[in-house]
């Protein structure tokens, strides 16, 4: 991932509407979990980070489910982190 792309993504993760997501996503990025992902997984993470805060939070807390297995896989990784 290009530096600018990563930094844009990081800004969109460390400045969310919900504190819950600030904490969870910042931990995932700055804790090195994101670095371990392969290219496709990183792309899937970017798609998740684009979601509305409450929708993403519902996924991360298991209140809602997502059909796309690529995204579901990343949700599971974030929940474990």
């Amino acid at each position: 991932m290009e530096r600018a792309d990563y930094e844009r993504l990081r800004w969109r993760c460390i400045r969310r509407a919900l504190l819950e997501l600030d904490i969870t996503l910042t931990r995932f990025l700055d804790g090195g979990e994101f670095e371990k992902l392969n290219g496709d997984e990183k792309q899937a993470f970017v798609e998740l980070a684009d979601m509305e805060d409450h929708d993403l939070w519902d996924l991360l807390t298991g209140k809602a489910e997502i059909d796309d297995p690529r995204l579901a896989h990343i949700v599971a990784l974030i929940r474990k982190s």
Partner: protein, 594 residues
Amino acid sequence: MSIPVLKFDAVIVGAGGAGLRSAIQLSEAGLKTAVLSKVFPTRSHTVAAQGGVAASLGNSEEDHWTWHMYDTVKGSDWLGDQDAIEFMCKKANEVVVELEHYGMPFDRTDDGKIYQRPFGGHMSNFGEKPVRRSCAAADRTGHAMLHAMYQRNVKANTQFFVEWMALDLIRDEEGHVLGVTAMEMETGQIVIFHARATIFATGGAGRIYYSSTNAFINTGDGLGMAARAGIPLEDMEFWQFHPTGVAGAGVLITEGVRGEGGILRNSSKERFMERYAPNAKDLASRDVVSRAMTTEIKEGRGCGANKDYVLLDITHLDPATIMKRLPGIHEIGLQFAGVDCLKEPLPVVPTCHYQMGGIPTHYSGRVVMPQGGDMNAVVPGFYAGGECACASVHGANRLGTNSLLDLLVFGKSAGDSAVEDLKAGRAHRDLPKDVADKTLARISALDNRKGGANVHETRLAMQRTMQDHAGVFRFSDLLKEGVSKILEVEKAARNLEIKDKSMAWNTARTEALEMENLIEVAKATMISAEARKESRGAHVRDDAPDSPEFPNGRNDAVWLKHTLFSPADNSICYKPVNMQPLSVEPVELKTRSY
């Protein structure tokens, strides 16, 4: 160096509830309006508001705006200006119904009216018994509000500048406000927004504290910009601590939980609020509940290994009701406390939540400051609304659900006043020659400094200092020490160093710039808190206890006045509270008890 200039009728900094509400007024009046935001509008922190918005619609039971006004004045511990409070409470029904017309999906009663829930501090008939006044859209009230208003703005051709950070307010020699300097994050480019009207709606600054319910974005940028431009900050000693942040994480458990029947208990499972607030009990106003919780913990009746939290119990409620009316709560318990709240009570502590003070405004949304003997002289071209502003309706303590109302009412009135002033002929004034010099100097200092302070460490030092020295309970010696400590932190904050010098998406630079705003707010808070030698609302001092002469430690003879902190020389002056409502009799001073 030549800097691009973008010319608008109005520039609004902030795309949360207040900014979007102002923008509707301006754009629908046909004015060319720019809205700047650090994040996409519907990522603004208003999204986090779950509990609802207050309006005395009387849909569930009899209610009246004068009762709402009484609750707000009492909640404010009589520090709120009664003209502004009347204005807000009277306008509540209008702005809520407008929102409904914008498409806000409020919860409904069976007969199709807006459903209203009970909430802490909402009482009928001048404090007699709880009344249902809060209007909500499930647990997504703020989110639904922003979506409805964003769509309305798109239709009205508001121009959004997303992921742009405003850096400094532009004021000319005569004190007129002419716009802002701002940075486009994607390129790092600095641009001047030259406007006939400038509206600040930048939200709160709760990140000055270590334990906070506020998202990371709440860095008080509007207050920092105003302070650097010589505008004083009002009543900054007053911060509301939310009684129920998840112990250890800060994540908020909405007051609606107590509204629906949640009970606070100590280590012996006692419902301790019965002792502190016999009538309202767990629904007493926030500072009363926070103080009671802190007292329980301080007197050894806290829970857990360190006896440092109390319990919020909803295990007696019908699980179906919890899941329907309070769906987020179950998940928060599991995720941040490891507790299933249907079976076990949740660990909670008082946590910094809301800033009552801010940029001083009149209820018309115009920014005011002392000038030539007038304590409330208008700063021409400058308006503010929402959490960054101080109208002052929240006074020493805000009632729950009154801030969503504040941003609707004062967002709208700031917009209306700007429209009025522009229609009356306010023109673009010439930009000063040195218009962006200060901004450019700040950026260049950050980029070139060697051996300066680390941003993360400086922020942590500030947050610890604020938490330990100006928390929910305040002590004279700690406040004094806090003042010298925060002035030390200020030196570091003025000497920050960043390693990353790139132009595009330089989040290190952005965070350093935010830090320069946070410190202005922290300093104003600490110095104002040290100076106010009484207890009032959310400002509770150990050396101003409850006594027959000064019930609750409040001393109206000396302290019934607003603080105005001037950042340039760290000085304080005071201005009177407006006790005269617009059309009704004043709510007379009395002891605040629930």
